[in-house]
Amino acid sequence: MIKQKQFDKTLIRERIAKRAEQEIVSGSYVNLGIGMPTMVANYIQTGKEVVLQSENGLLGIGRFPYEQEVDPDLINAGKETVTAITGASYFSSAESFAMIRGGHIDLAILGGMEVSEKGDLANWMIPGKMIKGMGGAMDLVHGAKKIVVIMDHVNKQGEAKILKSCTLPLTGKNVVNRIITDRAVIDVEDKGLVLVEVAEGFSIEEIMESTEAALHVSESIQIGTY
């Protein structure tokens, strides 16, 4: 707990977003979920060719507009005003989800509330709280070729979010490929969860302690990579 306090919230989010950016291969098509995942776009390294898809019907999201460029008809899935890159295309929501469901998106980076050791993801509702809806998340988890979930390693109460089984209603079963938190990078494999990277300032033991699910430690584990 002490270590977490060393970072303020913004810095933690930045650390996660920067590490998540490394998942993006040049030449790929990527969908970034609403919230922290959207921030990943800010850290895309120059020289990487990446096309960002927005499920409201845009392939090729650009930067936020300058004030004089704002078009109210041009937003991303988070309803933020954006621009389109050169070579972009617009299409309907049916075409957009055909693209997603059909496996044409190389990578989706999504937020998470809980992930289980089988790769189940819960990120859309908390029983008892107002249900806002799942938006496109349930389609994305089954469509994109690779699903990376980014989230805090533990919740505000310090409790594990990587669990044996999710306690919250699921977004998708057995859909997550990799989890990136402020503390570690964990892959979902057939044998279970595999710890592949540990963030600066944490030890393997600390990761184990703050993870409810069983963790295999990768033979090629790297410590302090981010």
Binding site: E55, P65, E67, V70, P72, S92, A94, S96, R101, M138
Partner: protein, 231 residues
Amino acid sequence: MKQIYTSFHEVVKDVTDGSTLMVGGFGLVGIPENLILALRDSGVKHLTVISNNCGVDDWGLGLLLQNKQIDKMIGSYVGENKEFEHQVLSGELEVELVPQGTLAERIRAGGAGIPAFYTPAGVGTPIAEGIEVRTFNNKEYLLQTALKADYSLVRAAVGDTQGNLIYNKTAQNFNPIIAAAGNVTIAEVERLVEPGDLHPAQIHTPGIYVQRLIDGKQEKRIEKLTLTQLA
């Protein structure tokens, strides 16, 4: 061939209590603003509304909520609206939440004469309750049925008097599939032009899907203005 209206009041006048409406738009982008205002003014009640979102408290479909004109809402994300939450908790409003891609495909199916299809979205989640699960090539899918509407309300940037429509940028979203899934489709256009003014290969919605047209100025409220600051 098409009915061209000049009064928003007139163009929605025959929408009766208990009708099922589909309404285009994503957030506040591409919503038929004036048609929604006219429905609010008409006071029509007990509507079932199919739309990705439900507006905000004081704009878009939120206006019909405020006025308690909606009995049931089918959408994928309804989080920007306090009145919505209030009516759900009080039991006045029934909600059916559908994954966004499933919603889009169910609407497309409605317009395309496909009664049902299978999709992976929602397998193993609460939305799969009571829904048939079937395995194809070792993967599980849910059976989902088509959605149709008595009236479809859409907004386009340009329309010609034959009903052909072109949408602007991400204001396309649900509009073309909603246009095809209504028994009566009413298109609110920012600019009404003559046949031949639109290039036949650039038309997003062929005129066959549209029964009524009306042009109207758009306010186009911005929900979240995000800017790049000049350095």
